[in-house]
C-alpha cells in the first residue's frame, strides 16, 4: 500500500477509535437516563426516586392482579423474580396485558412503596410461536408439574 | 392458508388496518423510489444524447468552409 494511503488510513482509524471511546464513556455515564425503566430490584433497593415521574418495568406476577369491580382500577405486582413492587393503575390496559406478561408502567412511586401508574404499556419478548405450539408447551409443563418460564406462557388472548 | 375466508384475511381479527397500512406504505414508497430512480437515469441518458448530437452538428458546421455569405438554413437543433 502507498505510504500516503497508509498514513491516511491510520489517521482515520485513530479518529474513529477516539470517537468510539468518547461515545462509549458518554453512554456509560448516562446509562441510568438511557434505561427506559427501573426494574423491581432497583425500586425495592431504593434506587428509584420518590414522587418523580419514572417508569417501572417487569413481569406481572401471576395471581396478583386484582380488578376493582366498580371502576377501571387495577392493582397488581410487578416482579423480576427477585423483588416485586405493587402497582396501581386506573385506565384501560393494553390487549397484551396478562399475568406473566412483561409491562412498562409510567407513574410515581409513593412513600408506601406503591407505584401509582398513569400509563401501562405491554412489553413482549422476542419469541414468536403458533397458538397450538404454545398450548402444547403449556400442557407439557403442566404434566411435569413445574411452572413454565413466563416468556412461553400463553396469554388469555 | 392461515385464514378461513378472504374477509377474515382482510380483517386480521381486528388488526387489519395496522397490518395493511404498513404494507401499503411500504409498497408505495418502494415503488416510488424504484420508478423515480429509473426515470432519473433515463433523463440523464437522454440529456447526454442530446448534448452529443448538438456537439456533432456544431462540429459538422464548423468543418465545412464557411461561405462568405449565404441564405441557406442553419441547422440548429430545435429542442
Amino acid at each position: 500500500m502507498h505510504p500516503i494511503r497508509k498514513k491516511r488510513l491510520t489517521i482515520v482509524l485513530f479518529l474513529l477509535a477516539g470517537l468510539s471511546i468518547a461515545v462509549a464513556l458518554t453512554t456509560y455515564a448516562l446509562r441510568q437516563n438511557i434505561n427506559l425503566f427501573y426494574d423491581p430490584t432497583q425500586i425495592s433497593a431504593g434506587e428509584a426516586p420518590m414522587d418523580v415521574r419514572i417508569r417501572a418495568g417487569g413481569m406481572v406476577e401471576a395471581g396478583t392482579v386484582v380488578r376493582d369491580p366498580d371502576s377501571l382500577k387495577v392493582v397488581f405486582h410487578v416482579t423480576d423474580y427477585n423483588a416485586s413492587v405493587p402497582v396501581e393503575y386506573v385506565g384501560i390496559l393494553p390487549d397484551l396485558f396478562a399475568e406473566g406478561q412483561g409491562i412498562v408502567a409510567m407513574g410515581r412511586l409513593n412513600n408506601e412503596g406503591r407505584f401509582v401508574a398513569d400509563q401501562v404499556l405491554a412489553k413482549h419478548d422476542e419469541n414468536y410461536m403458533p397458538p397450538e405450539v404454545a398450548d402444547a408447551l403449556e400442557k407439557a409443563s403442566k404434566n411435569e408439574g413445574s411452572s413454565m418460564p413466563a416468556s412461553a406462557q400463553p396469554a388469555s388472548y | 392458508m392461515a385464514f378461513d375466508s378472504f374477509s377474515a384475511f382482510i380483517a386480521m381479527e381486528g388488526h387489519g388496518p395496522y397490518v395493511w397500512a404498513c404494507y401499503a406504505v411500504f409498497f408505495v414508497l418502494m415503488l416510488l423510489m424504484m420508478i423515480g430512480s429509473v426515470r432519473s437515469r433515463k433523463a440523464i441518458v437522454e440529456s447526454c444524447r442530446r448534448g452529443y448530437e448538438f456537439q456533432a452538428d456544431k462540429s459538422k458546421v464548423a468543418a465545412s468552409p464557411p461561405p462568405s455569405a449565404s441564405f441557406a438554413r442553419v441547422n440548429v437543433s430545435q429542442d
Binding site: 494511503r5 491516511r8 482515520v12 479518529l15 474513529l16 470517537l19 468510539s20 461515545v23 453512554t27 446509562r31 438511557i34 434505561n35 427506559l36 425503566f37 427501573y38 393494553p94 390487549d95 397484551l96 400509563q119 401501562v120 404499556l121 405491554a122 412489553k123 413482549h124 419478548d125 422476542e126 419469541n127 414468536y128 410461536m129 403458533p130 397458538p131 397450538e132 404454545a134 398450548d135 400463553p154 396469554a155 388472548y157 | 392458508m1 392461515a2 385464514f3 386480521m12 381479527e13 388488526h15 395496522y18 397490518v19 404498513c22 404494507y23 406504505v25 411500504f26 418502494m30 423510489m33 424504484m34 430512480s37 432519473s40 437515469r41 440523464i44 441518458v45 447526454c48 444524447r49 452529443y52
Partner: protein, 247 residues
C-alpha cells in the same frame, strides 16, 4: 488483489458489469420479496400472543435490517473515499443515502404502527427507537451536506467524514436492547443461536430480507449509473455507450 481493487474503482468497468447483473437482481429481488410477503401474510401461522398484528414483522425486520446494513456499506465506502480517493466509493455513498433514508423511515413507520396494538403506544423514547431515529437524521444529514457543497471533491470528503462519524450509532442500535432496559424486545435472529420462532415464521422472514437485499442492489446499481453518467458525460466512453445505445 490491489489490481482488482483499482479495477473496481473504474466507472467504465462498473458500468459494464452492473448492467449485466441488474435484470437478475431485480427479478430475484421481486420474486423473493413477494414470496416472503405472501407467505408471511397469508400462510404463516398467527402468533400465540400478538395474533395477526405480528405479520408486520415481515416488512419491519427487513427494512430495519437493511437500514443498518446500508449504513455499514456506506461507511466502508466512506473509508475508501478518504484513504484511496476512489471515485466510485463516493458515487456509491451519494447514490444510496436516499435509499437508506427511505428504508429507515419505513422501519420506524412500520414499528410505530406495530407498537400501537401490541405495546399500547406509537412511540416511546427508548434506546432502540431513539437510536434508529438518529440513524434517519444521519441519512438526512448526509444528503443535505452533499447538496450544500458545490465542489465535488470537497463534498465527497465532508460527506465521508460525516458518514464515518455516524457509524458509532450502528453498534448502539444493535446492542441497545441488551445494554439498557427498553420497551423494544431483543433480536429474534441471532448469529449463534437458533431463531426464537418456528421455521414457518422465520423462512418467509428470511425470504423477504433476501429479496429486499437484492432490490437494494438493483436500486444501488441504477442510481450509481445515473450518478456516473452525469459526472462522466464528457468522457469518450460515456459518449460511445450513449450513442451506441448500450445504456
Amino acid at each position: 488483489m490491489w489490481q482488482f481493487f483499482h479495477k473496481l474503482g473504474s466507472p467504465k468497468w462498473f458500468f459494464g458489469i452492473s448492467t449485466r447483473f441488474m435484470p437478475w437482481l431485480l427479478a430475484g429481488g421481486v420474486i423473493l420479496l413477494m414470496a416472503g410477503v405472501v407467505w408471511g401474510l397469508a400462510f404463516a401461522p398467527e402468533d400465540y400472543l400478538q395474533g395477526n398484528s405480528y405479520r408486520i414483522i415481515f416488512i419491519h425486520v427487513p427494512t430495519a435490517f437493511m437500514a443498518q446494513s446500508v449504513y455499514i456499506m456506506m461507511a466502508s465506502a466512506a473509508l475508501v473515499t478518504l484513504v484511496w480517493r476512489m471515485k466510485l466509493a463516493d458515487v456509491f455513498v451519494k447514490a444510496v443515502a436516499p435509499v437508506g433514508l427511505v428504508l429507515t423511515f419505513l422501519a420506524l413507520f412500520t414499528g410505530a404502527v406495530w407498537g400501537k396494538p401490541t405495546w399500547g403506544t406509537w412511540w416511546i423514547w427508548d434506546a432502540r427507537l431513539t437510536s434508529m431515529l438518529i440513524l434517519m437524521f444521519l441519512y438526512g444529514g448526509v444528503i443535505a451536506l452533499d447538496r450544500a457543497i458545490n465542489d465535488e471533491k470537497s463534498a465527497a470528503r465532508a460527506v465521508a467524514v460525516l458518514v464515518l462519524v455516524g457509524v458509532v450509532n450502528i453498534p448502539i442500535i444493535k446492542y441497545s436492547v441488551e445494554w439498557w432496559n427498553t420497551l423494544h424486545q431483543p433480536a429474534t435472529f441471532k448469529l449463534t443461536e437458533k431463531p426464537s420462532m418456528p421455521a414457518e415464521m422465520w423462512v418467509p422472514l428470511l425470504l423477504s430480507v433476501l429479496g429486499l437485499y437484492l432490490i437494494f442492489g438493483w436500486l444501488a446499481c441504477v442510481r450509481m449509473q445515473t450518478e456516473i453518467l452525469s459526472r462522466e458525460q464528457r468522457t469518450r466512453w460515456v459518449r460511445e455507450f450513449v450513442m451506441k445505445g448500450r445504456v
